[in-house]
Every structure is written in C-alpha cells, then in structure tokens.
Symmetry: C2
Amino acid sequence: MLGRRQRVFARGSVRATSPHLTSTISGLRPSVPFLGPEAIERARGGVFRSRIGANENPFGPSPMAMEAMRATMRESWMYGDPENDDLRLALAEYHGIEPANVLVGEGIDALLGYSVRLLVEPNAAVVSSAGAYPTVDYHIQGYGGRLIRVPYAEDAVDIGALIAAAEDHDAVMIYLANPDNPMGSWYERPFIDAMIRQLPERCTLLLDEAYSEFAPEGVIPDLDSDDPRVLRFRTFSKAYSLAGLRVGYAIGEASLIAAFDLIRNHFGVNRLAQAAAIAALEDSDHLTEVVEDVTFARERIAEIATRNGLRPLPSATNFVTIDCGADGEFARAVLRELEHRDVFVRMPGVAPLDRCIRITAGLPAELDYLQEMLPKALLAAKERLADRV
Amino acid sequence: MLGRRQRVFARGSVRATSPHLTSTISGLRPSVPFLGPEAIERARGGVFRSRIGANENPFGPSPMAMEAMRATMRESWMYGDPENDDLRLALAEYHGIEPANVLVGEGIDALLGYSVRLLVEPNAAVVSSAGAYPTVDYHIQGYGGRLIRVPYAEDAVDIGALIAAAEDHDAVMIYLANPDNPMGSWYERPFIDAMIRQLPERCTLLLDEAYSEFAPEGVIPDLDSDDPRVLRFRTFSKAYSLAGLRVGYAIGEASLIAAFDLIRNHFGVNRLAQAAAIAALEDSDHLTEVVEDVTFARERIAEIATRNGLRPLPSATNFVTIDCGADGEFARAVLRELEHRDVFVRMPGVAPLDRCIRITAGLPAELDYLQEMLPKALLAAKERLADRV
C-alpha cells in the first residue's frame, strides 16, 4: 500500500532493541494490516469520489438502526453493558442457539485477536492462505505464533492443502474465510463439513463468515454451535452496513466462548453500537433490500470489467475481484491510476492473486464514475508498462 | 460483587484443562474486572433509581459532541479512520505536544491491555496497589505477569512502597492512578516527579490520569511527553461524559507510542466516537460547567455522609469514597442495602479499603434519593450486623 512504511516511521520508529519491549514485540517488523482510505486521502491531498475499496456497504444501515442510535445518543454518558446481554440474546434467538454460544466484541478484528491469544502459544503453528486476510497474519505474528501460509489454488482457498499443512506442522489453528476475502470465492456446505471432520486433533478452525449474508442459499453451513473445533465469526460491518460502529460476534462451544471472558476488553463495545445492532438484526426487510442492491452492483462491476477486457471472478461477497490479465506490477499500476482519478480500490497483496484488483459494490454514482475512469486507468497503466523494459 | 461468579459460570464454565487453551490462559481463574450495573439490574429484576456507582458522568456530554454524533451517524457504514488522525492532531494541539506522542484507543482499558502486552513478559513482575483498579490486575495476570500488590497507606497509594517493591522484585512496570480510584486521593506534582526520578531502570510507569480534569490546579504534572519511562492515560469517559463511546488516549515517548501500532486493533475506535471526541475537546466552556457540577455534587455527597455519621474522604475525582466506620462486612451490608433500595454504588474490594463505599457524583435528583435512602440502608446494615455473633 502506498506510503504505508513512511507513515509508520513518520509516527516515530520502534526501537527494536528497546529494553522495555517484550521479546515477542521486539521481534515484530513494523506493519499495519490495512491503510485506511483516510490515510491515503491525506497522503494524496484529496478525498475519493468512489470509495469502493474497503468492502464497506454504502447502501446504508437500516432506518431502525439509525433510529436506535438517535435514541441512545443521550445515554452516551453510560458505559455499554459489558456483557452485551440484550444483543447476545437477540443474536442467540436469531440463530436459534443458546446465548452461551455467542460472544459480542468490538469487531471481528478484535475477536480474531482474542482467539489467537486464547489458543496460540508462542511458536505454535497456525495455517492460513497466502494472501488471505492480513489482520489474521498480524495477530498470529503479534502473539508470536508461527504463520504457515498455503497458496491459493485456482483463485480459491485450498482446503485440502490447509488441512495437510496443519497436519505437517502440528498446527493449533487454521484460518478460513468463507466466502473468501480477497478473492470472493466460496465453498458449499459439504466442503466445510468435510474440512471440519478432517481437522487434526487439537486444531481449531477459525471460520470467518463476515460476508455470509451475501452468499447464495446453502453455502453457509447450519450452525453446529456446540462443536469445540470451530469458532465462527460474523459482523455488522458488511451486510448490515455498520462498519463504523465496531460490532462483531463469535459463535462457538460454550466453554470456549466463556474463555474469552478471561481476557477480553469487557467494556469494549460502544453503547450506541449495541442498540443499533439489535435494531438492525430486527429489520430483515432492509437486509434483503441491501443484499439485492449489492447483487446488482456486483453484476454491474462484472459487466464494466468485461467490457474493458478484464475477467471478473465469481463472488459471494459485496465485492468483485477482477483479474487484470497480467502480473502484479500491472495490477498495482491500474490501482494507482484509479487512485489518481479519485477511485479508491484495493488489491490482494500476494502473487499470483496480485494480478487482480478488488472492487467493492458501490452506489450507482460511484460505479458510473468507475465505468468512466477504468478505461483511462487501464490505458495509463499500459503506457507505464510499455515504459518498463 | 453480587452474583459475579454465578454469572460467569452461567455462560459455560472454562475448561481449565482444555488442550486448546494456552498455558497462560489455562492458569487464569475465572474473573471479570467489573460487573456492569445492567448485570446487577438483571439479577435483581429492576433498574436503579440512582446510578451512582460506575463513576460515569450524568451531567452529560457537550451539545457540540451530541451534534457531532448526529452529523456522523449517517457515516456509520464507513470504518473509522484507523489512525484516528483528526482526533490525534486535536489532542496534540490541546496538550501542546507532537502527534507522534499521542495514541488513541478504544478506552483506557484497551490501552492498558496493550501496554501490558508490549512491556510485560510472562512471569515479569508488575507492581500495583492492593485494591487499585481491578482491570489492571486483570490485564497483568491475563498476560502471565506476576502481580505484586502493595498496601495503601492511610487511604492513599504508597508511592515509596511502590518504588521499593519495584526494586525488590525487579519489576518492569508500576501502575499508579493519580488521582486515585477507588480512594479519590491524589498526589501533587512534586511527588509524581520524584517518583519518576526514582523509577528503577527498565521499569515503566503507567500513570492513569482518567480523573485528571477533576483534580485541583497544579496536581497534574506538566506533560513531559518525551520521557520514555512514563506512559500516561486519559479518557473521554469521565469529565467529557462519553463513557459509552469508548475513547481513551495514551501520551508517551514517540517510539513507545509507535510500538502500539504493532499490536493494537487498528480499526477499533468507533467512527462516531472519533467525531464526538473532537467536538467535546473544543467545548471548554461545557467542561468547566461539568467540573463545577461535579464539585458541587461531591460536596453534597460529603455532606450527606457526614450527616449520617460517616467520614467522607477528600477527593480529586468525580466520586466520594466514604469510610463507613467499621469493617468490610459492614460496608458490604450497606452497599447491599442501598442496592435493595435502588441505589447503585460500588466499593473497594480489598481490606482495609473495603470499610468504604464509593459514590459517584450524580444528578441532584439522584442525590436527593441517596439522602433519603442512606439512613435507612445504614440502619438495616446495622441490624444485620447485630444479628451476626
């Protein structure tokens, strides 16, 4: 990402040799999982016209969630309920499971961090896919875990290879996003079920279902919330369009869920956010509408890509990953040229996925503008490419 | 706290022998730092009439902060800026320091956790006061640190004993809240300066100044933000009356502040909260008014205590700690009798501090009700006490 390193160092460089920091921390290389669009805007000195890079959902939250925020604003002087009880009960009812199987936290990012802290000893192996969600790698390395990265196979996570790597390395954890980010691909239920059956002993599957509401019927397995081998993660940031509020949740076996209480930030979830999430969960009509809007936008992005000679990959998420038909250098050039033209998109960070760019399902006006700018960005990127020898 | 254990176990008990959990986690005893008032209300089956136990600030946030929340609500679909840049710059300007010396996080609780994670190796000693902020103990133990607890001296933190214990145990960290919670006492600047000078080598002082805005002039030292031995913590939860939003910040030497970027939840701070905090910071008139309201309420609580034959301790915070004149059992009985009468207060958890109860500066109506209920609660507690042999 543009300017990432510069930015970190601009804030004061980490004294890797400081006597104060723990050995695990001293061993970490400076990195941030994602540079926010605001940081890029500050670096380039202007706001984006199409903010279609962070897989946010601009179709907006339920009016009921907005009303809940408005009504709860005046309670901001109170801490939120540290047990998130009302929301936890609402989620349990929604999924038809017990409250003891649900944990609410300040976004999936925080919950993934807690999970690694609970389950990963320093030097223990954790298996993920090379190019998968960077925040997971960040947490694994941050807790001193040994990250084993398995290549994608044909632009999808390679489940068999994940299992094999977990066996080879005696891994305590596998991370899998289904549907996948950044590629948008997905596995039908039987594959996930088979994977769970094949999990090595003492190996926990972190199953990130952030994009599950966008997936076709039948993709997301029924919840066997009492299986101690699996922790599942959901969020209000994607389909519910509440990324700014920081609410995610984990579903898992009750004693494992209870273990989070040993370490989590008990007062971590915003009071307004708890109320808004409950209201959002009740408004299933709005969810249906938003998912339709997203599906339509996804088709439009695929069409724009195809019309420009690029290949859109199938997606069960709120983004479309587009094969730019060349190498990582070319895709990075396309991304940069889009950025120059006020279009914010992101791309996978690891080859061979990095021949793609990833475009979030945006509002019609944002996609109109993308449609106008993509041919120009492609042309400019090709000219750049021609200049290299 | 009433029902704490029951509640934790009701959610599924932790399998201490689980092969999945790390050795550090398996060694932890189930505990939560604080039971929220909502949990107590659920257990007793009714809401409190005076919610004056959690050191929240019912005088309410600045109208400018409320307006900022209202204006930002429609942006909830976007993630908050992970660098919290606007707020960080505003805080730097407010304190007359560099942005590189400021880190914004999801409440002081989260920042304390990150600090322990950065600085405390498993089995390293950390010194705190017996009965001080339980969330600090929770984090230290949660990361496998060895907690050394130093008794209070005459209801104030014993600075000399903290330093001595740090030397004796080769501690890597000392925690000090100034002004202090739960006792409300405080140290003038020269004492803190002297303490910093005496810090053993390789020992970092975590200086929690959550209540600093309530302290008399001259108590809080000027900010020497480049001193690598000290990390200071501030919050929008107390004087700014925004506990529900989860915004705190740390001030420290730039390279230590930068180290938080290696581990923190980069997208952890709510987008509305960032906007509201900036607005709150600008409204110094509101802050002045609120601090006056709190001072008045504090005097009123002291008066109510005195009129009931109890001894209010001096306070530089938004609460008054009241010596109930007997032992912990009696104070706990008073607390319980207040609870039965719909008054929520808290108390220190460790002897000899636990002869006290701690009452938050509440609204006039809440204190009217306290004034009515305290004599009845005291009488009932004395009757209980008479029954014990």
